[in-house]
Structure formats: structure tokens, C-alpha cells
Amino acid sequence: MKRIRLLTIFRHLIQCLCKYSMLTIEWLKQGKRIHVVMNIILGLILLVFFHWLTPLMLGQKLLNVQFDHYVRRDADLTRQDTDKYLGQVVYFDIDHLIYKSWGKPAVTPRDQVADMIQIASESGAKVIILDILLNADKEVQGESDRKLRQVLENIKAQGTTKIVFATKVDFDKEMTASVIEDLIDDKEQFFHATPLGEANSYDFVCRFWIPYQEVGSPENRDIIWSIPVLAAVLADGDIEQLHKLRASILAGENANKTQSYKISLGNGKEFELPVSSKETYLNRIRFFHVPSDPFQPGKWSGNLSPRSVHLLSDGMDKLSSTEGSRSVRGKTVVIGNSSPDKGDIHMTPLGPMPGMYIQGNAINTLAGGLQSSDPEHGKWSLLLDVIVTVIAAFVFAYLDAFSAKVLIAVPMIIAAVYSYELLLSKGYFLNYIFPVIGICIHEQISGVEHILKKFSKKSPPA
């Protein structure tokens, strides 16, 4: 019985499809065909053109206009609902006041770094990101180095907190050794990580995180993961995934870079590692965390609560207080120096920002499941594009130019309004700037249609 009903529905569907196909063909015969065909051709040309334009400077600028707008909305969102969007990242900030009181030393005093690591670990931090280089070639700090070593050895013996050490890789792809190099094994607890990010070359605004950096000679090639990737996996995922992926990358699998890598996190979230160096969507940093700038009040309005940012100038006691410990428990702690005199301030879509906060935002983007992706990147992309092109072709053919623009503009405006919601909930980056440009171009192309129409009228009937 059920089968017969399904067959009936299927028959009706086929009949409907045939009927409407015949109607469409009939309609196409009735004089609108040149316009429709022209519009479809125009739509397809635009599709190819925008695909070609995307990696170019102009395409990137247009995309950045839209995405930077979203980034500002992200920051506003955190301001409205701090707890919801702050995620699992806490900052231990060696701010300018404390750095000045130390006499602005060229090398951050490692006994102070040791104290901060110890407090974070004892407070129950899951992961500590040390965004300070501990290069052995700069200065050996005798007693301070011994203290740092002692603290790290204790943490290693306890096996609780995982620590990621920012590591400099020089031009020859050699890792610069740190003063505690022998303690870092890159297996379970202590890891090297590259602290690099990427900016667009035309405006030097930092917008992207990188997945990993290659190190070593061609014969002895290796990779070190970036801080956000390691931090997100160590906090909520299984490090074995990264070990396997590393082996796969080193073995040259997926060498033609056709597929991206998916990393699952224990909290049900996942993120994708981009494989192409020209990736536009997946490696964008979402700036939900904005520190306040004490030197330019009002210009750079912060949105972080005192529970998320612990300034060292407030005293080490405050860090180790009960309230301080509570704010750190189970979280990822980023330790860095935000003093402008350390030269680690970079331009972001929200303004200048210390590197440690950019790292924190990148970690939050991955660990919080806030990674953006392109629906064009997904399976429905081509179908969606073609459907939009065909609908637009019919609308522009059937209606006059003004009415067609209005009709198309309405869903575009709705898309523009809700695109941010889509990005926030699904991570989809809906590009509405290119279709808007397409509609504007249609006007210019209509002149060609008139010429074709005149030509077809002049030609003798068959």
C-alpha cells in the first residue's frame, strides 16, 4: 500500500516536472529567449570572473571589507554578553606599567615568567601558552633560569598542565634553542609552537592564523604546529590526531593539497586545517577579545572582563588569590608582554593589538568552534550559484530593470542582515558583495542585449 502511494507521488512529480519544462520551453520561444540566455551567460561569466578575482588583490580587499565588518560585530557581541563569547582563554599580561617598573629589560626576567607559570599551573590551568621566547642565545639568566627549570620540572613530574612554548624558527628553518630545550619533547606535555600569524601585504593588517611551520633541512624535514592549533587540541582534543597528521604531512600524503584536514575536539566541535597557503576563509581570526589600551582611552575600547585579563601590575598576589585561581581553572592561559616597548604590537581589523591577544583570539576561534568557512567550499556551492544565476536571469528578463533590481535586492538585503547570524551560528561566510557587483554590471551589459535584439529583428524570418 505504502509502495503504491510512493509510486503515485513519484508519477505526479514527473508529470509536474514535464509540464513545467514544456511551459518553460514554450515561454522561451515567445521572444524572451535572447534576454534569458544573455543573462545566464552573463551570470556564468561573472561566476568565473569572481572565482578568478578572489585570490587577487582586489578580490581580497572586497572580501576583507565584509569580513572586517563582521569582526567589529564580533567584538561588540562580546561587549554585550561577555561570558558567552569569552571562551576558555585567560590572559596573564606583563603590561607596560610593570615592564616599566622592572626597568624595561631587554629580556623578560625568567623568574617572573616562572612565577606566572607556577601560579597558572597551581590554579588548575589546562594549557599554558608562553608567548615569550626563551632563546638561549640572548642571555642566560643564571638563578632565574634555574628557577624556571625547577618550576617546569615540577609541572612535568605532576603531569597536569600542558605547556606550549613559542619558538623562533630562523631563515634557514632551524629552531632556535631555548634555555629549557631539553624539557620540551613535543609528545605529551611540553611542546614547541610557531607564534607566527599572517597579514595582507597591502595593508599589513593581521587577519590570519597559520596551521604549521616547516623546520629542518630537506633531508631532515619536520613541522611544528602553530600556537592556536596546538592550544585548541591540547585543551579539548586528542594530541594523537596531530601526531598522525604530522606523520602524514611529512610522508608527503596529500602533497597536491586537494583536501583540508579536519581536527575533532572533545567538546563536539571541530575545525579544519587549511592546506593552501592562499586560503581565504578557514584561517581568519575572529577577534572576540579586545584588550583595552590604557594609553589611548576611548580610541580602543576593550571588552575583556577582569576575570579574563590579569595584569601583572595589579600584583602577583591577585593572580594567586582564590578569585584569580577560579578564573583560571580548566582554561588556557596565554602569558605574554603587551608593552609597546617590546615591539609586539600589530595592526588588526580592530586597531593595534599586542601579539599575545591576537594569539588568544586565534585560539578562541578554533577552540570555540568559531572558524569561518565558505559555503562555496561546501558541496552545495555550485548548485546554489547556478540556481541564483538562473533565477536572476529570469527575473531580469521578465521584469523591467528597476523592478528586477528591487526584487533581487530584497533577498540580498535579507542575506546581508542575516549573513552575520549565519557566520555566527554555522560559520558560513556568505559573500554578498560579489552578487551586488554582478547586478550593477548587468546594467552595463544590457546595451549589448539591445544590439543583439536589433540584429535579430533585422534578420529575415526563417
Binding site: 631587554a106 601585504s201 605574554g336 591576537i358
Partner: protein
């Protein structure tokens, strides 16, 4: 139609004028002079290859060692190519249409977008002291009669160091097996004020000039350095002395070549907590290295000339 023709003609004229103006403009100037060389202009006139001599397209620098002459270029497209009797100054013009297309693409933003890598981490702002040069006090240097000077040559397989006067007589000789430097005081080894000496390592390995300052010049130097020896900060004092001897060497190159002392003072000035002072010290140390490179080029050129 007439307007279009006139516009096109004007445009072509403008391009031609620009091309001619470009061709006749100065492309560079000579940095290291060598009076043994001569610059032959396109019209056949000849000028000596002196410092700051202007170079134009088609000029030929003739003579042995012409390829070693350092030239400061004004245009990136300017360069030189070897010819049978020297080097020719050339200008490689980019293709007009290629550069036009590149400019239009650049203007419209249709060029490939590149990314810049940033280090998002706190790093040490400590300056590193540059390594010592392999040669002190240089290919040519002036030294005071009663001040110790360290002669450094960098090769540990040398056997003997010899100092000769300008007549070729050996004034001083010592075994240096396994050493790369020795320290000596000119008056203690028989050198005299105002004289020029050659110091050689193993006769064939290297030959360098040493001029002993005249008593007057040494007295001026000593007096001025004593004036600078006031103030509390030892780093600043050393830095001022480094700057002073550098200034003296630049202003009176025939009498003083004290870049090496500038390097010594700058190294003494390094290590302050004030990184600005350290940066200035590094500047004077780098200046000595550049001076040494310049001396090496001149020395090689004159050696070739001597062989010729």
C-alpha cells in the same frame, strides 16, 4: 577624428621625450675611485675614474680592475656589463607595453595578493654584539707611536710576521706559529713617528700598511680624547670617543685612518642597559667592517694594477 590624431601624436611625442630624457640622465656615480682607470663617454671624451664621477648610459670604464669599481646606481634598471677592455654602463629599459599592462593591473588590484608573516610573540629586544672583524687594524691604518696595537690577520697557519719600512728593510720580525694576532707597541719594536710601514704575514699571505702618527697629530689626538674623558657614564664616554676618531678619519683621511680605534671604543661602549647606546655602538662597529671592505677592494685593484 582630427582630435584623436592630434591626441595620439602628442602622447607618442611625450613618450619619446621621456625616453630621451631618461637616456640622457645620470645613471650612477663612482664610489671607489681608481685614477689608473678612465671613463670613456659615448662621444669619445675621456675623464678620470674619480670618486663621484658621473656615469651615463654607454660610458665605458676602461682599464685593469674596472669590474671592481663600486658604483652607486640611481635607477634599478641601470647596470654594467663586461667588455673586452673594461665595463660598459647599461640601462635595461622595460618593455613599454609590458610595464603599462603591469601598471594597470597593479592599479586595478588584479595582481596576486601576497601575505606577510608576522611574529606574534614577545621577543628579546637585546642587541647582539657583532663579531670581530678578521683583520685589524685594517689594510691601511694609522697608529700612535706609544700606544699598543693588536695586529690581527685571522690565519692560524702563518709562520712569521715581518714589518718593513718603505725601502723594504725589515724593521721587526717575529714567529707567529699558531697565532692569529699579536699585540705590540710601535716604539718598542723600532718604528718611528711619521713613517709608513708594511706588515706582512708569511710574505705571501698578506701585506698591510701601517702609518705611525706624527708627534703633532698624536698630541692632538691625545688631547682631544682626554677632553672627551669627562662624565660619569663609561659607555657614553667610549661612544663619544668612537664618534670622534671616526670623524677625524673622515675629515682628514690623509693624516688619520682610525676606524679600527673607533671599532675598539664602540665595543667598549657596548653592554649598557640603554639599548639606544648599544645600537649606536653597533653602528660604529659596522662602519669599521664597511671601511675594511672598501679597503679590500682598493687593495685588490691596486694589486692587479701592480701585476700589470
Amino acid at each position: 577624428m582630427t582630435r584623436r590624431v592630434i591626441s595620439a601624436t602628442l602622447l607618442v611625442t611625450l613618450i619619446l621625450v621621456c625616453q630621451v630624457a631618461w637616456a640622457s640622465s645620470m645613471l650612477g656615480w663612482v664610489v671607489t675611485e681608481n685614477n689608473a682607470l678612465v671613463i670613456v663617454r659615448a662621444d669619445g671624451t675621456q675623464v678620470p675614474c674619480q670618486q663621484y664621477a658621473e656615469l651615463y648610459e654607454g660610458d665605458v670604464i676602461q682599464g685593469e680592475g674596472a669590474d671592481l669599481i663600486a658604483i652607486q646606481w640611481y635607477l634599478p634598471a641601470a647596470g654594467k656589463e663586461s667588455t673586452a677592455n673594461g665595463v660598459r654602463v647599461t640601462l635595461k629599459r622595460p618593455g613599454f607595453f609590458q610595464s603599462l599592462v603591469a601598471d594597470v593591473k597593479d592599479f586595478l588590484g588584479l595582481t596576486e595578493e601576497a601575505r606577510v608573516v608576522l611574529g606574534l610573540n614577545t621577543r628579546s629586544t637585546k642587541q647582539k654584539l657583532p663579531s670581530e672583524a678578521s683583520l685589524y687594524p685594517g689594510y691601511y691604518a694609522t697608529v700612535a707611536l706609544d700606544e699598543k696595537v693588536k695586529l690581527t690577520w685571522g690565519q692560524s697557519d702563518a709562520e712569521e710576521l715581518t714589518i718593513k719600512d718603505n725601502k723594504g728593510n725589515v724593521v721587526y720580525s717575529t714567529k707567529v706559529r699558531g697565532l692569529t694576532a699579536i699585540e705590540l707597541q710601535p716604539d718598542k719594536v723600532g718604528l718611528r713617528a711619521g713613517e709608513v710601514y708594511q706588515w706582512l704575514v708569511d710574505e705571501t699571505a698578506g701585506s698591510y700598511s701601517l702609518k705611525i702618527l706624527s708627534e703633532d697629530a698624536a698630541a692632538i689626538l691625545r688631547r682631544d680624547l682626554a677632553t672627551l674623558d669627562k662624565g660619569a657614564n663609561p659607555y657614553e664616554k667610549s661612544l663619544k670617543k668612537a664618534a670622534y676618531v671616526r670623524m677625524l678619519s673622515d675629515s682628514y683621511p690623509d693624516d688619520f685612518d682610525l676606524y679600527w680605534i673607533s671599532d675598539r671604543y664602540a665595543r667598549a661602549a657596548f653592554g649598557s642597559a640603554d639599548e639606544k647606546l648599544n645600537r649606536r655602538a653597533i653602528y660604529f662597529i659596522e662602519c669599521y667592517k664597511l671601511h675594511l671592505n672598501d679597503q679590500e677592494r682598493r687593495s685588490n685593484a691596486s694589486a692587479k694594477e701592480g701585476r700589470k
